[in-house]
């Protein structure tokens, strides 16, 4: 592979953008590089943050375990989104509902245990006379 097929700096002109989209095997309309913050992404495309779990399990991928086709641009965090790791599939219950239920329960239990440790409560007993 020659060096002009490798990732390069952030594309500034529309011609550079079109060339970068062609290099990454993407449509020009689909190609969206990471914002130019100086963080080191260069012209690598910013793909949607979806894990490989969400891809069709019944389609004949070129690499079935990775659910990835030959030459298809890989997500920057591809190694995180493989099927052994992070999963962004939609959940039955929305995320904010789940977090609310969890943190309210956890907070209540922690508060009650904390109060119980500070103010212990036990049956009143009388000391034996000496």
């Amino acid at each position: 592979m020659s060096m002009d097929m490798m990732p390069g700096p952030y594309p500034r002109t529309p011609e550079e953008r079109a060339a970068a989209a062609k290099k990454y095997n993407m449509r020009v309309e689909d190609y969206q590089p990471y914002p130019d913050d100086g963080l080191g992404y260069g012209d690598y495309p910013m793909l949607p943050d979806k894990s490989q779990y969400e891809r069709d399990p019944w389609y004949q991928w070129d690499q079935p375990d990775m659910r990835h086709n030959w030459g298809e641009p890989m997500h920057w965090h591809f190694d995180m989104y493989i099927r052994n790791r992070a999963d962004t599939s939609p959940t039955v219950v929305p995320w904010h509902t789940m977090s609310k239920h969890f943190f309210i329960f956890l907070g209540t239990m922690l508060v009650m245990f904390g109060l119980g440790a500070i103010y212990p409560s036990y049956m009143p007993v009388v000391t034996r006379p000496p």
Partner: protein, 147 residues
């Protein structure tokens, strides 16, 4: 009674970094416009070209030892060797560098120094007047009572 229309199911779901919107709630699923179909056709054309190149190499009677995936090579190159040339110091990157590199170092310096000063103060006050040898006394420093 004029009230605002109910929020859509997609907006109630609130997808974020950790979960995506289900396809059933996404209005894009039900979009059958010609623009979308043209886009899908163009993507399929690119995909077919790539698959043809791949299958030509795969079904070659004398195939190459390894069929290189250019996407994989580009991904590895971008993450390892393209970071330094495209990095540039900005206020954001300088702040992040200081926070991640200097922050923990200064934090642990402060914590360890404070703890050692506390231990020294307790020893000077004579918190450990055991009838033991000096070696045992130094070993027992680790079990000093809490503040």
């Amino acid at each position: 009674m004029a009230s605002a229309p109910a929020p859509s199911a997609a907006r109630l779901y609130r997808p974020n970094r950790f979960v995506s919107l289900p396809a059933e709630l996404d209005p894009d699923t039900y979009d059958t416009s010609p623009e979308k179909r043209r886009a899908e056709a163009e993507r399929l054309a690119i995909r077919s070209q790539l698959k043809r190149q791949y299958l030509l190499q795969l079904n070659n009677p004398s195939p190459p030892a390894v069929i290189e995936d250019p996407a994989l090579i580009r991904w590895a190159y971008a993450k390892s060797q393209n970071v330094y040339p495209t990095f540039r110091p900005t206020p954001k990157t300088s702040f992040l560098g200081a926070a991640y590199a200097l922050g923990p170092l200064l934090f642990w310096i402060a914590v360890l120094k404070a703890h050692r000063d506390y231990k020294e103060k307790r020893i000077q006050e004579g918190a450990f007047m055991f009838q033991t040898t000096l070696i045992l006394q130094r070993q027992w420093e680790w079990f000093l009572p809490r503040h």
